[in-house]
Structure formats: C-alpha cells, structure tokens
Amino acid sequence: MSINLEHISKSYGKIEALKDISFKVHPGELFGLIGPDGAGKTTLFRILTTLLIADEGKANVTGFDVVKDYKNIRKSVGYMPGKFSLYQDLTVEENLTFFATIFGTTIEENYELIKEIYVQIEPFKKRRAGKLSGGMKQKLALCCALIHKPKVLFLDEPTTGVDPVSRKEFWEMLKRLQQKGITILVSTPYMDEAALCDRIALIQGGEILEIDTPINIVKHYPKAIYNIGSKDMYELLQKLKGFENTYTMYPFGEFVHYTDKRDDFNPNELQQYLEENGLKEITIEKTKATIEDTFMELAK
C-alpha cells in the first residue's frame, strides 16, 4: 500500500477538521480527493506529509509511519502545497537547484523525470519565480516537488486559480507521471477533474462520503436526472422551487439539473406546469448523472 489511513481524526479546538478518515491508495494510483473548500483536504495533506500530527488514528506513507518514521517520508515524498510556495525572489533555475541540493541530489541526476515539464519553462530559467505566469509557476512547483524522484506525490489543489488550458496540460502531465510509477494523491474542488482520477474520495465536513472509481460513483446515483432549459433561467429556478414534486434542482451550466420525488416521473407533467406558469422555450431531457450530481446528493 502506498498510502494507508486508519481512523484519522484531527480537531482545531472545537472544530473537527477530520472525522475518522480511513482509506488506502494503491501504488501507482492517481487518487483524487474531491470536496469543497473547508472539507479538510489540506489538513489531511498536512498529516500525510508529516507537517501535522493527527489526534487519533494511524497513517503510513510508502510503509513508513507518519509520526515515527517521518524522516523517511520526507525523503521519499514530494509535496506541492496549495499556495505557491517557492522563493519568488530566486530564479527558476535557482529554485530548482535549491530543492535539488536540499534533497542531496542534482538537477542532472533526475533530469529525465522532470524533462518534459522543465523544457516548457526552461526558456525562462533566468527569470525570477515571482515574475512567472500562474501556469508556469505551477509547472515550476511541480518540477521542484519531483526533483528528488519521490515515490509518492502530494498535490494540494494544484489547479486552483489556473486557466483551463493550463489545467488540462497539468492533468496530462500527471497522467504521464503516473505511468512512470509515481503514486499521486491530488485534491481538487473541481468535479470535472475528478473524472480523470483512477479512484476518488468525496469528502465534506471532515468526513468521507464515498470512495470509488469515477464511473462507479456516478452509477450509484439513485435518481433519474433531467436537464431543464428555458429562456428565463431565474424564473425557471423560482418556479421549480415552487413545484410540489421537486426533489433536487440546481443550475448546471446552461441547464437546471432536476430530479423528481417520485419514481414514475412524467416529463410532460412538468412541461405543462412550467408552461402554465408562463415560461417559454422549455426543454426537458434525460441526462447522465455527473460526479457533481453525486456529490450534491451525498452532501445533502
């Protein structure tokens, strides 16, 4: 097992950040922690990277206990905190050399691993890290986290605040790193990224709601979901809220995702209700549940 958590709990004063968390991450797996801000993702990362000691429970990373063998863990994991935390006043090259030196290695030694990513920022290697764009900062941070060839990579919200193109690139990079045998634990608040993981854990309020592959998680969704569209989005939401059989409804892109309380729901009935209420250009069609739908359902 690459990462193994057993009944981990952590409180900050009266606030319970993590409640009895247990899960396993297999070697070479790309595991996603999906949850909103404040769900406890960062706390979990800090416990696994030996920065924080849990109140209860046991955890180990690559076979080392996070409390007793923290020294070995620090040698064999890479951590990229959510906040950009490299030296802004050092250049790209200096940052990389600094982390390589601290880990007792050199850029040349592990160049193979970071090559693909590093070539993209190499033209700017004399530029100070603070002057890089958001996407390039992410790439540099990833290089720094990889420079000592870690067995496990911890990425805490790596794509928050990064443009869609860079986000896509970033996930492609993660996929390639995974192929090189690195176990990756990544957290994200974006549900669309969850689908790219091997397995995901949905986390909220310090508790794990569900752990499974993205496909299975979606399958578990109990209800039929309908995409409802109309010209006047606001009116549509208001009217759906007033409908007696509405089970859930929330805006999803240009549509509203709707589920009905009853199992034998007839879309025509709803269409009629909405038309009576003066809505125009109504479309109702069945759609597949997404991870976001599942999350919303589980988090209720």
């Binding site: 920065l51 951590y79 905190p81 490299l86 030296y87 601290i102």
Partner: protein, 374 residues
C-alpha cells in the same frame, strides 16, 4: 555541508536582491550614527535666562553681568514684576528666573547675609539639575569676590579665608568629549537593532509566504536550516561593526586604545545572543508585523536599560537586577572598556562569560522551540 553552503548562498542572494533591504542594512544605520552622535548631547546650553531686579544697585547689576558673560546663559529678558516673569515662565519663553530683592546691596553690607530667589523650569529634571549647578556656580564665584571686597573694606588685618580648590584630571576621555562616550554606545545599538530585526523577521517571512511549509517537507536538518538562515546575519553584524568603527575613527576621531581583535571576538559571540533572540521571536509569531512589534518591545527596554543614556547605578535596585539580563548592557560596557580604556581579555571576562552563557541559553531555547511539525 553542501546543503548548508547552498542555503547560506541562497540567503545572501535573497538579501542582496531585495532592493529595499540593502539601504536598510547599511545606509540607515550609518545615517543614524552620524545624526545621533552629533545630536544626542547631554550638555545643557543656551539656557533662557530672565531676571527681576528690585534693587537696581551696582551689586545687582554686577551679578547680572556675570550671567551675561556666561556662555551657558542667554539673558532674554528683564522683568519689572514677579507676575510678568511668572507669565513668561508659563509661556515657556524663559527657563531660569533670578529674583534680586530690594535693598539687596544694603542688606548685604549691613548684615553680611542675603537671599536670592531662583526659579527653574524643571519639566526636564536632569536639565534643571544642571542649570541649578550653573546658577549656583556663578553666584558662588560672585559671592567669593564680594567677600573679598567686603573684607577689604571692613578689616584689613583679618586672616584670609582658607580656600580648597580641586583640580580634576579626567581619565579615558580627557576633554570630556561626549561623542567619545556616545559613539561606541550608539554603534552597539545599531549592530543590535539590525541583526535582531533581520533575524527575527527572516524566518517569519518564510512562514508568511509559505516557503517554510515546503522546506519542512524536505529531509533538511533543523540545525542546517537554522545555521544557514542565521549565518548571513552574523556576517552582516560583523560587517556593520566594521563600517561603524571606521566612521567612529574617521568622522568622530574616537580613540581606540584596546585591541580590535578582542572587540571582534566579543562581538562575534554577542551577535549570537541577538540572533538567538531573533529566532526565538520568529518561532512564536506568524507574521512579520507581529515579529516586528515584539522585537521593538525588547529593543526599547534593552536600550533604555543599557546604561547608554542613563547610568545603571542610579536606577532602583530591582531595575539594576533586571539589567543583568540585558545583553546590550554588556556590549556597551565592553565596547567602552576596550575602546576607551584599553581593557584586555582578562578585564572583560565577567561580561564575556555572561554573554557566552546568554548565547548558549538563548540559542538552546530557540532551537528547542523551533519545530518543523505543528
């Protein structure tokens, strides 16, 4: 060793890249040294002097003339009445008032005794004390002359009064130049201030920008990181001392009687104390602002209780015990001893051993309280 070397190299790079940092480190202290050493004088001069002469005799005029002649007093006004004189004292246009009563001269000749009224603005107690001494000196010398005059008039055969005069010889600072006294002290402050603030804020800064978190997940050793962080400031402290000493010599011509090697030896240990305090502060704060305020709190107490501006001997007993914990006190003492008196290694052993102990305790505490995990 390679790691440590690179951390030190990195720190220096960061210090020298910070455009606002370099002037703060080197230019500001020197400007302070130049300004403070010239301005922080204990001499009381240009005293605003006023008088009320109810007597209008030749003797009273002769006494006033004495004040005119003094370089310390500026005779600003002659008041016709006590009321007007008090008003100007209230306004602050006069600091010392001399009241010569009516029949001053006549009573002096008849009764050989008289009183003068002296009023001093004592908001600044220390200055008032000095002013009192000046006034007394002038009146005494006037008195002596008067006595001789009176004696000559009344009885020629009477024995001359015995006069005891003292001729002081001022050691270590022959001309009583206050700059000789102040410059080494101010230099101490500057070295302390800069090294304390820089070291106190440095690690907090890494906390603030989040790099400490990244560093903490690396196999770097606590000792390597701390030494790597503090060593540059140790060097900067010694560099500051060097620049300060050069200025003391060239600009203020402060004598350097003692051994420079001894001074550097002591300073190198002293800076360890300051760095230890700085590190300790940064361990218990989360932002540079907090660190700055705490550093200031200690700095102000250290400065005021260092014996630099006020002698420790005149503090209350409890305060004197407190000064035992003030590293600046020892540095000021050693600096003055070595520079002005030429004290040797044996003479500074008490200060040196206390400083060394302080350094060990402070750094021990700092390293102990520095945690990579929280």
């Amino acid at each position: 060793m390679k790691r440590l070397g690179y951390i030190i190299q990195k720190e220096f790079k960061q210090i020298f890249r910070n455009k606002s940092m370099l002037p703060i480190i080197f230019v500001m202290p020197l400007i302070q040294l130049l300004i403070l050493a010239n301005a922080a004088t204990f001499d009381v001069k240009n005293i605003k002097f006023g008088y009320i002469d109810y007597d209008h005799s030749s003797t009273s005029r002769a006494l006033i003339e004495k004040f005119h002649a003094s370089t310390y007093f500026n005779v600003v006004a002659n008041y016709p009445s006590q009321k007007l004189a008090n008003e100007s004292m209230q306004k602050g246009s006069v600091d010392v008032l001399l009241e010569i009563p009516s029949y001053f001269e006549r009573n002096l000749q008849n009764e050989k005794f008289n009183n003068l009224g002296v009023t001093i603005n004592a908001i600044d107690g220390a200055a008032a004390g000095v002013e009192n001494v000046y006034v007394t000196q002038i009146i005494q010398s006037f008195n002596k002359k008067l006595m001789i005059d009176l004696l000559q008039v009344s009885d020629q055969s009477q024995v001359q009064p015995i006069n005891i005069t003292t001729i002081p010889s001022f050691w270590y600072n022959k001309t009583l130049n206050y700059k000789t006294f102040m410059v080494p002290g101010i230099l101490v402050l500057l070295v302390t201030m800069i090294t304390l603030f820089l070291s106190g804020m440095n690690i907090v800064r890494e906390k603030e920008i989040g790099t400490l978190e990244q560093i903490n997940v690396t196999p770097i050793k606590k000792s390597q990181f701390i030494i790597g962080k503090l060593f540059p400031f140790w060097i900067i402290g010694l560099a500051l001392l060097t620049v300060g000493l050069i200025i003391s010599k060239l600009v203020f011509n402060v004598p350097m009687v003692g051994s420079l090697v001894l001074m550097y030896f002591y300073t190198s240990i002293y800076i360890l104390v300051v760095l230890g305090i700085g590190l300790f502060i940064s361990n218990f704060t989360d932002t540079q602002q907090q660190a700055m305020f705490i550093a200031w709190f200690f700095m102000v107490i250290f400065i005021l209780m260092s014996g630099l501006f006020t002698p420790i001997e005149s503090m209350p007993k409890w305060a004197q015990y407190l000064t035992e914990f003030n590293p600046i006190k020892y540095f000021v003492e050693v600096m003055r001893m070595v520079m002005l008196k030429g004290s040797g290694f044996v003479d500074i052993i008490p200060q040196l051993s206390k400083t060394l102990l302080y350094a060990i305790v402070m750094n021990g505490l700092a390293v102990w309280s520095y945690k990579k995990t929280n």
